[in-house]
Symmetry: D2
Subunit: 178 residues, 4 copies
């Protein structure tokens, strides 16, 4: 998940965020951006490409914190626009029901999800995007994969913290996991 | 639900359909057309207006049979285009998971749903439409209601066969039932 | 929602909780306890009865915080056992997917849910209980209502913070809202 | 899916069923029987074992037709009792919402699901069973697998018609697909 230290007044300072992370589950959203055909079938899944300081390639979902007094659907839209650019035209789901929740634990193997920084609980959504995606922030690129590629070992091993598993759950939810 | 006697060769004749209706549950889809804002909040619900031969006003969801060898999502798109016109631009859901199923029984009060003609089991979906809706077939008009209006007694009493209940379930699913 | 200031070392002190509540959304679970028949139909909904210091009657769902490093399903079981007693035998859902999320805002009318103390985001589940329920903590009693009673104005007006709406969403989800 | 030619008067004769199968989608239910721990985590998945006339081993979900004027939840319970015996104590879901639908087509590769006999649309549910399972009918045995085993190639290749894919979707839904 992306580092999300917002510094707007009224939100948490970096120190306060660190303190809170040690004491409370932090609420996140995860979005799986998809391209669909006219009948709603998912044809492609979009993954953000990041290069670590040691040169390792990581592929990631759109992910981030829900802020104080922010609705979940506003957080979802904010992170989608931040990561995919202002022209992506995401179709935020009508229902607040996530397809699953991902519980990222600071200790390994409690759940399939892991985040060494914190205990985060993420509401996960599949989001069709119809516009032009231009990754911003710390992502180098957004790459579209077929459902088959997205669930392949090659792509799965480039995803961290259990997001590969979350991606497979999304593919199962839309009926595209073989 | 609309009368759905397709006569294309290979499908059921009217007689065969009548016979089958007396012997098997018939698979249907129900779609709740909605307008949404940029964050996915449902702002309006679209209901078809029909006038009966006795002058009674009925409001209805988009509804119809799934045909042999037709995918559910293709049936959904076909009925949406048939009832809302070719420019409605419906966003067929990515997931085949319906928000509920409506079991229409020929006998009253087995479930909240009733269809004197048959036992129909309908997969129900909420479908955002962004384009221009022009009702065709036997509907006079498509009228947009706010979620509050849609669940009001005035509108509810104009819906038949339990579709008012199904509409309330759709509103609950999208978080718009008060 | 019940006051949930745990004082176990490692968790938040009351002061820290107050501070955090002003800065972050707090993760909650809401459970709707139900009795079911052999085919899974909900026959009754259980509501906690509380009497306020001014004598007002309030009916409430089982509700409470998710703690640091606690899985959502463990939080659900903990709050069910705390509120219904150790012999309630709740059937915690197999899927972590909530039927909806309830976003309780400290300001009114942002969503149907309101909590003057905090911004809480609650994952909501329907939980069949088969055992003997003996409310503990600050609840006086657990009363079972039929689905019709539970959605009636009489019961709805005794529920606070939008939990009446959440209850109706649960009834819609299980097919028992008329 | 099991051969389901019921011959009770009022239902379809074998000839009528064959005729209908060639003309209409047939409504089915699929149930994934599971064992769960106290917190609702799926620990085991139950699969029926069948030996074909040519000696091939097939593992299958509980599956069968919904009859005329039968509620889906009654069909689910009937097939569970038929396949797992009268002491299995299945917990039929409170919500009629299936976790997915499986569209079995007589032609290959339209969907992941295939049934050479017919076009069947199946509503799929995960069903915890707490009692003693004794397979009846044409199944030799019911074998319990861990979620890891159930999604392994060894078990997957013993499942026919796409039921291996449906099983993986069920595991994804309950958060047990890695």
């Amino acid at each position: 998940m992306a580092e999300m230290t917002e510094t707007t007044p009224g939100w948490l300072s970096r120190d306060e965020l660190e303190l809170t992370r040690a004491r409370m589950p932090i609420l996140y959203v995860d979005a799986v951006p998809v391209r669909v055909d006219a009948t709603g079938v998912v044809t492609h899944v979009g993954l953000l490409l990041r290069i670590g300081s040691d040169g390792t390639v990581t592929r990631a979902l759109v992910s981030g914190r829900v802020l104080h007094q922010e609705r979940v659907r506003d957080a979802l839209l904010r992170h989608l626009e931040k990561d995919l650019g202002p022209l992506a035209l995401p179709q935020v789901p009508t229902s607040p029901q996530p397809f699953t929740i991902a519980e990222y634990f600071p200790t390994q193997d409690v759940t399939p999800y892991h985040d060494p920084r914190q205990h985060a609980v993420s509401l996960a959504y599949v989001v069709p995007v119809t516009g032009d995606c231009r990754p911003r922030q710390d992502a180098l690129d957004l790459v579209w994969f077929s459902p088959e590629e997205a669930s392949s070992p090659l792509v799965q091993q480039e995803m961290a913290g259990g997001q590969g598993t979350l991606l497979k759950q999304a593919l199962a939810y839309v009926g595209c996991l073989r």
